[in-house]
């Protein structure tokens, strides 16, 4: 009984603590752009929390089901762009926009997943990448000037709930993002313990064996694909509110690769790894940009300065090192000593060769 209540106690305590962050007036020096309660810090934290949730939704596919998708950006971008276009270009109410976004968030992965899951392994990765690229191109082409092309699409603030508009309401956005991340954690935790969730993990370990047992693995994989994508679409809506619109950077293949980096850095196939990885990655990415422009870095000789002022270079290198020396990610670091979990040696599921 105590172990069970402990399992819930720590996350709930963390949630409560995080919920009170907007009331903390102190800062952490140069670690943060300002005091904890300042809009700048809360905005940074809000995006960190969104990416924590989206990274976990990606882990549902990659870590728990063994589906290496390179197209997760498509569903996040669909959430941001569809909701934004609905309120800004079609002048719909926010509730109606959310409804149509939810519909897109279900139908789009259902169609794309049904087609892509005809392949498996590496071919699946390439095919999902191609579909995501189609989405990126569509946003770029700016049909009927709906998407705003390269410049992105700022939202129409009169159509969005007033509680989420303006600098003073950044704390509400923070709570919204916190709520989103908590929901994703709760849903994924419940889903992977459910009966289909156990099948997902079995598919990751040995798909052929599950087929031999008489289960249609494709339906189960499609279920995981749709659920993970739908959760990402929700994150896209919260992101749209937090950054006041949609921008094309979230449609690119690089964005999916970023999610992959978050998941692997945090710990593949775990609940908390991607959450920590997603939040830390975004924090590091943003702070490295600030630090890269700081006096300490700028005064270094060019050989050191150029690489260190590029966050993606630093994070990409860290990622390679993590794959080599930190299998199991940051979470694996904490659990490595414990007996019984030592078996979690590899960083990811095995994808069978196509042959």
């Amino acid at each position: 009984m105590t172990r069970r209540s402990l399992r819930f106690a720590t996350p709930i305590a963390a949630l409560v603590l995080l919920a009170f962050v907007p009331t903390f007036g102190f800062g952490l020096g140069s670690l943060l752009p300002g005091p904890l309660s300042s809009p700048g810090t809360l905005q940074l934290f809000a995006v960190c929390l969104i990416f924590a949730g989206v990274a976990l939704s990606y882990d549902l596919l990659f870590g728990f089901t063994g589906l290496l998708s390179f197209g997760h950006a498509l569903y996040f971008a669909a959430g941001a762009y569809v909701s934004d276009i609905a309120v800004t270009r079609w002048h719909w109410s926010f509730a109606a926009a959310c409804l149509v976004t939810a519909a897109v968030g279900l139908v789009l992965p259902l169609v794309v997943g049904a087609i892509s899951l005809r392949t498996s392994g590496i071919a699946f990765a390439m095919v999902t990448l191609a579909f995501a690229q189609a989405g990126a191109i569509l946003v770029q082409k700016n049909p009927r000037s709906w998407t705003g092309g390269d410049e992105g699409l700022g939202y129409d603030y009169t159509r969005v709930p007033a509680a989420f508009v303006g600098v003073f309401n950044t704390r509400n956005l923070y709570w919204l993002a916190l709520g989103y991340a908590a929901c994703v954690v709760a849903i994924v935790a419940w889903a992977v313990r459910s009966s289909p969730g156990r099948v997902w993990q079995a598919i990751r370990e040995n798909e052929r064996r599950i087929e031999v047992l008489g289960l249609r693995t494709r339906s189960y994989k499609l279920l995981a694909f749709v659920l993970g994508s739908f959760l990402a679409t929700g994150g896209g809506v919260v992101y749209m509110l937090t950054v006041n619109g949609a921008d094309p950077s979230v449609t690119t293949p690089d964005f999916t690769l970023t999610l992959l980096v978050m998941v692997v850095l945090g710990g593949t196939g775990t609940l908390w790894g991607p959450v920590i990885g997603g939040a830390l990655y975004w924090y590091a990415n943003q702070r490295l940009i600030a630090v890269g422009g700081s006096h300490a870095i700028q005064s270094l000789p060019g050989v050191l300065r150029t690489p260190l002022s590029q966050p993606l270079f630093v994070l990409g290198t860290l990622f390679i090192l993590a794959v080599f020396f930190l299998p199991g990610g940051l979470v694996g670091l904490g659990t490595r000593g414990r007996a019984g979990r030592a078996a979690r040696g590899s960083t990811g599921p095995s994808v069978e060769e196509g042959a």
Binding site: L129, A130, I137, S346, E353
Partner: protein, 293 residues
């Protein structure tokens, strides 16, 4: 009619570039089971090495000679970079395919960020011989000469690779390795040396694609590798993973359909390629099983 000819030749030129990228990807995947995300970085390294060398060769007055020397350096840089990547990053993770993909992902992010950090994200202009900018008259239309260069290079690479795979000892090892790697190893042949070789070949082909894309677009920028890589992925999937001939046919189909659709609709060529991929998947999922044709 003349527009159609121009579209066809341009489509073939684009397809040639896709093929150059796809051939290396396909060989690497066929032999080692590695999806090489860093292939775009090979392309970028080759293209930037060429541009950089050319800008340092002010002493040579002939543009043609300067470009030729720079291209050779660029190709060598691509090969060297690819071989080092295989030796240092891919080999220690032998047979752990997911980790290998992850490492190439990290490498591609880091390399492109580094290039951007050193030379900025703006396009760098290629200085090329005057002949490349000229046109040839064919069927009543002016065809830019660099299209012939693209097509010729791709045909040469395809023929060269075919001959290499058919009639050399290493070609034999690579073909056997694609078929059954475990058996080749069991026969006492060090198949890993072929891995490095295949990476180096892929690096040269990708660098060549990078240089040709520099000629085609008259400049090179850090994002070029990624954008070409995605179409190369589509080509590899449509052509069948691990099949060189399949990649060649698929790259022609993709390049042509992109050009035609782009012209006869309002710029939907890129989307049509993805649609084509979906269609191939729906009709013939079996071609994607990773078999060699």
């Amino acid at each position: 009619m003349s527009t159609f000819v121009l579209l066809t030749i341009t489509g073939l030129g684009l397809g040639a570039m896709y093929f150059l990228v796809a051939s290396g990807l396909s060989l690497i995947y066929g032999l080692m089971g590695v999806l090489n995300f860093a292939h775009g970085a090979f392309l970028t390294v080759g293209a930037y090495a060429t541009w950089f060398t050319e800008s340092k060769l002010g002493g040579i007055s002939s543009v043609g000679l300067r470009f030729a020397v720079a291209s050779i350096i660029g190709l060598a840089a691509g090969a060297l970079f690819a071989a080092v990547v295989e030796l240092v990053l891919i080999r220690p993770l032998y047979l752990r395919h997911i980790e290998q993909v992850l490492v190439t992902v990290g490498l591609s992010l880091a390399t492109i960020a580094l290039v951007q950090g050193i030379w900025g994200s703006d396009a760098r202009i290629y200085e090329t011989p005057a002949w490349f900018h000229g046109t040839t008259d064919l069927a009543g239309t002016h065809i830019p000469n660099d299209r012939w260069l693209d097509i010729g290079a791709a045909v040469l690479v395809l023929a060269g690779l075919k001959v290499f795979l058919r009639s050399t000892r290493y070609g034999l090892i690579i073909r056997a390795g694609v078929e059954n790697r475990a058996m080749v190893t069991a026969l006492g042949i060090d198949v890993r040396r072929a891995f490095t070789l295949v990476f180096a070949i892929g690096g040269v082909a990708a660098a060549l694609a990078g240089i040709l894309s520099g000629v085609y677009f008259t400049s090179v920028d850090p994002a070029r590798g990624t954008s070409l890589l995605i179409f190369a992925f589509i080509v590899v999937v449509i052509g069948g993973l691990g099949s060189l001939t399949g990649s060649a046919v698929a790259s022609v189909v993709v390049g042509l359909s992109q050009q035609y659709v782009n012209y006869y609709s309002t710029g939907l060529g890129d989307l049509s390629v993805v649609l084509l991929l979906a269609l191939v998947l729906l009709v013939r999922p079996a071609t994607l099983a990773g078999r060699t044709a």
